[in-house]
Amino acid sequence: MSGAIIIGCSVAYVGLLFVIAFWAERRAKAGRSLVNNPYIYALSLAVYCTAWTYYGSVGRAATSGVGFLPIYLGPTILAPLWLLFLRKLILISKSQRITSVADLISSRYGKSTWLGLLGTVIAVFGIIPYISIQLKAIAISFDILTLGGQPGDHLQVPFYADTALYIAIALAIFTILFGTRHLDPNERHEGLVAAIAFESLLKLAAFLAVGIFVVFGLYQGLPDLFTQALQEERIQRLLDLRAAPIDGWSWFWLNLLSMSAVLFLPRQFHVAVVENTSADHVGKASWLFPLYLLLINLFVLPIAFAGLLQFPGASVDPDTFVLALPLHSGQELLALLAALGGFSAATSMVIVAVIALSIMLSNNLVLPLLVKSQTIQERYVLDLPQRLLGIRRISIVVVLLVSYAYFKSVGQAYTLVSIGLISFTAVAQFAPAIVGGVYWKRGTKIGALAGLLVGFVIWAFTLPLPTLCETGILDQSLIEQGLWGLPWLKPYSLFGLEGVDHVSHSAFWSLLFNVAAYVGVSLYTRPNALEITQADLFVDIYKYREGGTDYDVMRRQAKVADVTLLLNRFLGPVRARQVLQTYSKQTGKELERLPVADAELVNFAETHLSGAIGAASAKIIMASVAKDDPIGLEEMFDILEQTREIMQYSKALELKSEELQATTRQLQTANEQLKALDRLKADFITTVTHELRTPITSIKALARILQDTADLPEEKRAEFLGIIVGESERIARLINQVLDLEKIRSADDGFRKEVILLQPLLRKAYAGMSQLMEEKQIRQSLELTSTPLSVKGDPDKLTQVVINLLSNAVKFSPPGDGLIALRLKKRGAEALIEVADNGIGIAAEDQELIFGQFTQLSDRERGKPTGSGLGLYISRQIVERHGGRLQVDSKPGEGAVFQLFLPLVKK
C-alpha cells in the first residue's frame, strides 16, 4: 500500500474530526449541546483505551494470556464507586474551577504553588513515556502498511529521516489547532469532546471488525479458533493461571494501578472532570464505560491466538497482530480500517493528554512564575490570554518532541504495555493526596508534598531509571550492584525485595512510602487557615451545595424584568404574578428592590418553568436570559477571609463585653459597699448628734434656769452646776471617743508598736480604777500570773481598753454586793486578760450586739446607762488592730466575763 494513500486517509480522517468538532461547537453556542449527555460522556471516557489497548493488549495477551485484562478490570471494579467519588470530584472541581489534576491537589492543600508544580512535574515525566508509545504505535502501523508487514527501523535512521518525528510534529500541529484556538475560562472544549467520542466509536468499530474477521473469516467461530490454539502447548500454558507469568500479587497491583489511572491520568481527569457537562452523567457512565471496556476486550485473546497460530516462530511482533492478520490475508481495506482505528486511539490519547499537560504547564508552572515577577506581570497583563495560548502551544510542541526523544532512545526496546505501566505507576502517586484530600480533612500541604515527593523519587528510581540503564544510556551496573554499590539500593529489588515483577515492585514501594509520608507528616504538621478552608470545601462539598441544583456555586444572574417576561410568556400573567408573589413571601425579598435576579430566583423560576415546559427546555430558556457568573476562586477566598475576620472581631467583642460585664459587676459590688458605708456614716452621724443633743439640751435648760432665776438657792445652784459639768464632760468624752474612732479607722498602722510587759500595765490600770470600786463598795480581786507575759503594741491604747472594760464592770455591778476580778493567764501563744463581774449579765442574743457602734443595753430597772455606746466598739477595734480578739462570756443574772486575747511576743 502506498504511503500517499495512507497519508491521504489520515489527513481526510483528521479533517473529519475537525468538522465534527466545529459542528459540536456551533451546536454548543446555539444552546443545543451535542455532548451534554451520558453517552457522549462515557464515550469520551473511553479515551482510556489508547494504542496500548488497540495494539498492546494483543501483544500482552500473546505473552501472558489473560494478563492484559487487569488494566480494564480495575476501572470496572471501581465503576460502582463513581457515583460517590467521581461525582464528588466533579462537584468540587466545578465549584472551585479546577482545570487539571495538579490544580486539584494544589487547590485542596491551600492553593499551594509548590504542590501544583510538583504535580505538574510528576504528570509530565509520568506521561511522556505514555505519549511516546502512541508515537511508536502510529509509526509502526505506518511502517507495516507501507512496508508490507514489517516494522521499520527507527533506531538507526537519523532523526530527520524518521517518520515518527514527522508524526510527532503533525500531532503537535493537530493538537494546537484543536486545543488552543481560543481560551475558555472553564477549560471546556465541546468540539474536542465530540471528536474524542467519535474516535472512541471508530476504534471500537475497527477493532470489532478485525476481531469478527479473524474469528469468522479466518476460523469458523470461537470454538474452532480456541480448539486449534489450545492444541499448541505454548498457547495452552497461557490460559493456565497456575503456569502463567502473572500471579495474584501482580494481578492485584495492576488492578489498583488502573483504578487510579482511569481517574487520575491527566487526560482521564480532563475528560471525566474538567470537560464534564453535568455531574448527573456519572451514574449512567458508570455502567456504560465498563460495557465499552468489555466490548473492546472481547476479541483480544482470539486475535492474539490467531496471530500466534498464523505467525509461528515470532516472525511478527505480537503488538502488530491487529494489522498483520488482515494484511496477510489480503484484506487491505480492513487493514486500512484497522490502522485508522489505531490511529484514532493514538491521536485521541495524544490530543487530550497533551492539552491536559499544556494546561498544567501553563497554569501551574509558567503562570505562577510570570505572576511572581512583578515587572513581567505589569508588562504582559494586557494580553495575558494571548500569552497563555502561546505558552500552551509551546508546551504542546515541547511535550511531543520530548516524547519523540524518549521513543527514539528508550521506547523502542520495550513493549507498549510495559512502557504504559511506567506511566500508570507514576500517576498512582496522586491517589493518596487526592483520595485523602477529598475524604480526610486533616491532610496537610506538607504531608501531601512529602507523600508525592517520596513516591515520585521511588517511582523514578525503580521504573524509568533502570530502563535508561538497560538501553545503555546509563551504566548497566546500577541494576546489578545498586546505587553507589549498595546492595539494598538495586532499582529492581529495593531493600532486597525480590520475586515480584518490576511494576508491582515499584508500585508497592512507592505507594507504601507515599501513603506513609502523607499520613505521617500530615499528622505532625498543622494546616494554615486557607488549607482548613479548602479542606472543608472539598470534604464537605455536599454541605455547600444545598438545594441540589447543578453547580450551585456557578451563580446565575439575570434581570428581574427578563425573568418576569419569561414567566409571563410561558405561564401566563396571572400564574406568573402568583409565582413571583410566592417567592417574595418565601424569601422576604421585595422583587422591585432587587437590582438583578440572584441565583436563587433564577433557580426558582426555572423550577416553575420546568413544570410547564419540561426541565430540559426550561434550562435552555433560562440560559437565554441568565448568564453564568461563576464565583472566582479569589472572590470566594475574599468572602471566606472576610467572614473569618468578622468572626474574629465578633469573638474579640464578646471577650470585651465579658470583661465589661465583670467590671460592671465589680463596680456594682463596690457601689453597694459604698452605699452601705454611706448609710452607716449617716446612721453614725444621726446617733452622734442625737447623743450630743441630749446633754446639750439638759445643759441649755439648766443654764437658762440659772440665768433666769437669780434667787436660786445656793445648793440648788451647786447641784445644777454639777450636772452641767457632768454633762459637759459627757460631751467631751463622746467627742473624744468619736475622734478616737476616726483615728483608729483612718490610721492604717497608727499605733506605736513596742514590747509591753502586761503585768505592770494591768496593775497600773487596776490601781486607777480601785478608788472608784471602793467607793461603790465592790469587792476586788487581781489575779495575775507570775510568768512575765509580753505583747507588742501601744501601751496607752491597751490601758484604755482595760480601763474601759473595768469601768463597764463597775457600771453594771450591783452596788454594795459587787465583785470584780481582773485576771491574766497564758493560753498557748496568747495572753488572756479577763475582766469578770457579777452584774446583770448579757443575754446570748445581745453578746455580739454590744460590740457595735452606739449600742447600749438598757436596763429596765436603771434606765439608760451613762456612756456613749462607743466604748466596747472602740475597744474591739483596738484589740483587733493588735492582732487579738475581744469577746464576752455571760449569762443573764450570772455576771459577765470579758475575755481579751493578745498574741504573745515570741522570744
Binding site: 470496572t76 471494579i77 460502582p80 493456565d240 493461571l241
Partner: protein, 76 residues
Amino acid sequence: MSYRNLPMTNKDRYAKLVGLFFLALLLFNFPLLALFGKGGQWLGIPSVLWYLFSTWVVLILLINFALRHKNSNRKN
C-alpha cells in the same frame, strides 16, 4: 419538597454500590480467579474466559440495576 424520602434511599444505593465494589474486587482477583484458571473448557471456550466475561456482564447489569432504582424513585 417531595424528595423527603430520598436521603434514605440514597444511602441504600450508596451502600449497594460500595458492596458491588468489594464484590467486584473479590471476584476479579485471586484466589477466586485461580479456581477457573486451571485450563478447562466449556463449549470450546476456555473456562477462565467464561468466568471473566460473564462476571463482567453481571457486574455491569448490577450497577445498572443499582442506579435504575434511583431514577424510578425520582420520578415518583
